[in-house]
Amino acid sequence: MAHIVGGLATSHVPSIGTAIAKHETETPYWKPFFDAFKPVHTWLDQTKPDIAVVLYNDHGLNFFLNTMPTFALGAAATYANADEGWGIPVLPSFTGEPRLSWHLANALVDKEFDIATCQEMLVDHAFTLPMKLMFPNAGDRWPVKVVPVSINSIQHPLPSPHRCWKLGNVIGEAVRSWKSDAKVVVVATGGLSHQLDGTRAGFINADFDRFCLDAIVDHPGSLVRLSTAEIIEKAGSQGVELMTWIAMRGALPNEVSHISSTYHVPVSNTGGAVLLLDTASQPSAAPERVEHRVEA
């Protein structure tokens, strides 16, 4: 059976792509965020996952309001990135693992998840930038196959945090029952607190973000119980991207090792956060926790 080796969660703001393209990753503004991936790189080198199941939210590249699925499950052989309109570089295509996609589709529909299956699907910065952060030297040959899962974060009504948690539960069970010796990493991209629209634009809630970074490890129930309205109140209107973190955590076993976490404010308009969990039952050591704040 396939094995989930760990879970990674990260922010995904488009300006990460600009920073990479403009070689600004070592500037004081960006360095702490990119440094957050050093322990991730070490862990990826050690665990060598074969497949990444990526929970993210499309921002209007592949999906428009004409057909807006609540949960969209990629089931394609390849996934291309494309022009999103704001000039960040287009990254190389990804190779899918459609056999796992269909195994997940069967499990999800069996458990009464009304997914949309997507046999052709463009993946946007929320998918591609985390991959680039994980594998900065991949060039055009990504070292993992992928299964993208997009969660509607645009058109209300949005799925509740509890529904996303259960989505993760079923994905986790299904991966673990897949007849394969593949090692799978579950990736969540999005958040933490940010708000782009309205007179509260620019809202960041560092206290809530720190609470999330702790809660997601040991007591995710305190996040799962929140309503969408509560998340928006505490984390801003785009803070709903936290749903992807909740779904990721739902796919992992209860007991995880907390390898590292970084919180860095601001990354663009966002509370920037990176968190790495390993499914090995015994924590190998105290987690590496880093906090950064951009100096004005």
């Binding site: 300006s15 921002h59 209007g60 590249l61 428009f64 309001l65 494309a82 022009d83 999103e84 309109g85 704001w86 000039g87 645009i154 058109q155 209300h156 009504p157 708000q195 782009l196 629209d197 309205g198 007179t199 509260r200 634009a201 620019g202 809202f203 960041i204 809630n205 560092a206 309503s227 969408t228 309205a229 509560e230 928006i232 109140e233 801003g236 209107s237 785009q238 404010v265 601001p266 663009s268 308009n269 509370g271 704040r293 951009v294 100096e295 004005a296």
Partner: protein
Amino acid sequence: MSDLHHIEGTPIFDGNAAMKGYALNKMCFSFNSEKNRAAFKADEAAYMRAYGLTPEQTQAVTSRNVLKMIEAGGNVYYLAKLAGIFGLGVQDIGAQQTGMSVTAFKQHLVDQGV
């Protein structure tokens, strides 16, 4: 229990907004293509007419007023593509919506990292 529709300064893109905003959002979605961005730049008014924008939406776009675009049913994820054409990033539109200077808005972002 928070009420989705009474969070200070926070528009919710629900069915009511969607019903108002479809033409505007569809136009913005078209800006994933360079050709369409160029066509918009070449003749804004004609492009907006082709997408059937309402007078309120047309006025909001013409005046570059993001809050008015949202009031007219625009969703910020799609509007960001339009803002990009005007050379405005998320911090520019944040500043505009909050009535701050861009410098003050950026400082506001930094100040929240405590």
